[in-house]
Amino acid sequence: MVRCSWHGYAIEVPDQRLPADSFEYLALPLCDQLYNFAHWLTQDRSEAEDLVQETFVKALRGFSGFQAGTNFRAWIFRILRNTFLTSRTGLKLSQEEAELDSIIAADPSPEAILISKADRGVVRQAMQELPVPFREILLLCEVEEMGYEEIAQVLAIPIGTVMSRLHRARKALRAKLIDRIKGGSHGM
């Protein structure tokens, strides 16, 4: 296994000696990405570790059912997300869904916000405050650079829902950022 950097993000390159259809070859390079996603969802290190560990166990057990040639990344991310949904933290998710629109309604003005690199911490905190459905779709789209179709596979929702949820998630994040940039140290 070779570790290297991709967009400043540590990734693992599969060991060329492993068979290309083996679980190790496909899954191990995604370990860091899965962990990052899990930590964003759970907001807790040990919970994230448990989530990734359980995802690997489930994926390994169900690997014979994985169709070779289809999207392995979407498949394993979906396992992680489903595992999270059934966890204690994840159970709150369904309640959060109803509150989404009230968060978007907080967008006060149409003015543009331009974010510099120095605001990374602000963006991170705004993301942490987002409800999980918004947080996860933003992570899949921006961090994992998944296309709409792949996101639809992970979240098990239609592409139309991916588009509308992504739009609402961005609006919500924007509202939080404006709130933070204008309101100074609110919640920081």
Binding site: Y9, F23, E24, E142, R174
Partner: protein, 250 residues
């Protein structure tokens, strides 16, 4: 407003999800529309910021090792071995079956070759001007004639009360081995009895019942280290009758 239709597609545009023609159209619009251009720029910056901020959590080295160890256990190769547990014995059974079919067919081919040679010897003897080297209906004349000519001795049956008549005998050769060929007559048919030293392993595949091949009936058996063959253009029961007399001889 013309911008409305574009702003709806702004997300898809910045996400690279618009078809190429629509994306080009959008790019053209952005050049002439400051509002949409600022909007697009803001969203692209947001995307970058989220991407940067989102790549934040890293697993510990210990945890990564733990995951790596857990992933190395079974895999598709594991399933392959699972499949092999069933396939290996099946392959072995198949291999053994094929080997046996091959061996049986090889033995059969060898046996047919011997029968073919014996039939040739039988026909050649009958066609010969001197079918037998010792002409006698008396077994006590024929048997001693072979002494010194072949490396073994044998007993001939008493034929009194049967339809079989001893015609005579000659030395025959099969696979560079000398043996005895006796000619018997049954009604108007001639039968040959061949006696050769038995070669142990080869005897295993010989069928003991009369066998008809190439219109000749064969019967063979092994007794006291000698391999007997009876060949004739008669029926199985006739060949069997002569065989029984020979088996009980002595």
């Amino acid at each position: 407003m013309a911008c409305e239709s574009f702003s709806e597609k702004l997300d898809a545009y910045v996400d690279g999800e618009l078809p190429p023609t629509q994306a080009n159209e959008f790019a053209m619009h952005l050049r002439g529309c400051a509002t949409c251009a600022v909007d697009a720029l803001e969203r692209i910056q947001m995307k970058r910021s989220v991407a940067d901020a989102g790549k934040y959590y890293q697993p510990s080295v210990e945890f990564r090792k733990k995951i790596e160890a857990s992933a190395h256990k079974p895999s598709k190769r594991g399933n392959f071995w699972g499949w092999q547990v069933v396939a290996l014995p099946a392959a072995l059974v198949l291999l053994i079956s094929l080997s046996m079919i091959f061996l049986v067919s090889r033995e059969k081919a060898k046996r047919d070759r011997v029968y073919g040679e014996l039939a040739d010897l039988h026909v050649a003897t009958l066609a010969s001007a001197t079918p037998v080297d010792v002409i006698s209906t008396d077994r006590h004349t024929v048997k001693p004639w072979f002494e010194g000519k072949i490396p073994f001795t044998f007993n001939l049956p008493e034929l009194q009360g049967t339809d079989f008549v001893l015609v005579g005998g000659r030395v025959a050769y099969l696979h560079q081995t000398s043996g005895a060929q006796l000619i018997y007559r049954l009604r108007k048919h001639e039968l040959s009895v061949f006696i050769f030293p038995d070669r142990g392993a080869e005897s295993a595949s010989w069928a003991s019942d009369p066998l008809t091949t190439m219109s000749f009936t064969f019967e063979t058996w092994s007794k006291d280290g000698l391999r007997y063959f009876v060949v004739g253009d008669v029926s199985g029961p006739d060949v069997d009758a002569l065989s029984k007399l020979l088996r009980n001889a002595g």
